[in-house]
Amino acid sequence: MRDVAVVAFAQSASAQEGDRNEVEVLMPVVTEVRDQVGVTTADLDFVCSGSTDYQAGVPFSFVMTLDAIGPWPPIRESHVDMDGAWALYEAWVKIQMGAADTALVYAYGKSSPGDIRRVLSRQLDPYVTAPLWPDPDALAALQARCLLDADMATEADFASVAARSLAAAEANPHAVVAGARSVEDLLDEAYLASPLRRHDCPPVTDGAAAVILAAGDRARDLCERPAWITGIDHRIDPHQLGMRDLTAAPSVRVAAERAGVADGPVDVAELHTPYSHQELIVRRELGLADGTEVNPSGGALVANAVMAAGLVRIGEVAERISSGRAGRGVAHATSGPCLQQNLVCVLEGDRGR
């Protein structure tokens, strides 16, 4: 296996991009990530992006968004209709194959043009579930209810996750909601989709994220302290909700084993858990120890740019390693209803090197 590292990361997020189109949202983020390591698009061997036309409401919208990259002379480029974390996986495979030494990975999503709650219902099975238009908050509430009924968590546990995330968000300039609240205070709020309250659910967010990957010596040239990807894997559970035990996420567990999460101490974990109770499930499936700092950014409960939020988790962990605040960390990304599909990425600094 080749040594591949995250050498740069940039992001933006806001509750609603009133005036800017997708290109105008993405371009400053791509410019910033290239400037961090002093490269141009021409210096990068591969470009891979993640987004979905269902958010923009425009077919092949990702082709138009290439305007933000400067694809001239022609570039080698690919796109996934998935969160940018999966675009990063494709770029990582490309580098492992020896077909590239560097790659730009980006993702963007404006949830505000459409009704994201209706849009996300379109990913469900088209015969018996999607025709009901169940929104993601309702499906997540079913999952949370399963946890309560199995005595695996309480509503206070959900509120504890939200309280910690909202407090952490105060230090995150990209958070769209923030502010320390007590668990008791949060439990006094009305239900949004019982047993979930507003703070247990993600805020509608418009945003973008970009990462630069580099292999071996090229990574060391570009970055003083690269965040090496020592393991990465993604797995998927059945599409049909009725076929799953919603209190578990076996795909997280398998991906964590394959990525080697347990091979060393985990200083920090950024989990893409848009609903508070999902953090409890993912944390358990990853086997994280109590000492691991979870979602110091505030996580997807405080900024959830759909299609970018998973890539942001990888960037947040990488940034903490590159700045020396963490030695080894785990990033997780999810897709689909109720944690259906999951990606786990382990990142490490140069251990004594």
Partner: protein
């Protein structure tokens, strides 16, 4: 594989061969900062493109970025209302939502001073006389207050000038 069996009451029931599941999503499209600047000028019967600071090309309508250089366009460039047909299509086939009588001509018009043709209709000329290199001018809708859309231009019509030198628009063919 486990053998699947249906409850007795479903035995012999006709299989469902197909279902129709209508789905509709509504969006509020954001033109973007640069295109909004352009559309606000169209209301005043002005065509304002934007120039790339790197390759100096002028884009109309501007979308906020130079699609080759990947940098923001900022400098506003007011364009004339004349241009050259770089390509065209005579539409003979009826289709759903069609607003024009057949046949009509849809063309790419390279506005003078710009580097990206816009698509528009050609009028006041028999369709079989339309050709590449033909010089045309915008015919605006009546009224002082236009809607912020390129439909504020009714169509382009020939100016009667000699054809443009192919070298001036060859890059766009």
């Amino acid at each position: 594989m486990t053998e699947l069996s249906l409850p007795a009451r479903f035995e012999g029931v006709e299989m469902i061969q197909r279902v129709r599941i209508p789905a509709r999503l509504a969006y509020e499209f954001t033109a973007g900062v640069a295109t909004s600047r352009f559309l606000r000028q169209v209301v005043r019967k002005r065509l304002v493109g934007e120039r790339c600071p790197v390759c100096t090309k002028v884009y109309v309508p501007p979308r906020g970025a130079c699609p080759t250089c990947g940098v923001a366009t900022a400098e506003q460039v007011e364009l004339g209302h004349t241009g050259t047909i770089t390509s065209y299509c005579i539409v003979n086939v009826a289709f759903y939502g069609q607003a024009m009588d057949l046949p009509y001509v849809s063309a790419l018009v390279l506005l003078d001073g710009s580097d990206l043709p816009i698509m528009h209709l050609i009028g006041e000329v028999p369709y079989d006389e339309v050709h590449m290199g033909m010089r045309v001018e915008a015919v605006w809708e009546d009224g002082d207050e236009m809607e912020p859309t390129l439909e504020a231009i009714r169509y382009f019509r020939p100016t009667g000038e000699p054809d443009a030198d192919p070298a001036t628009y060859g890059e766009h063919v």
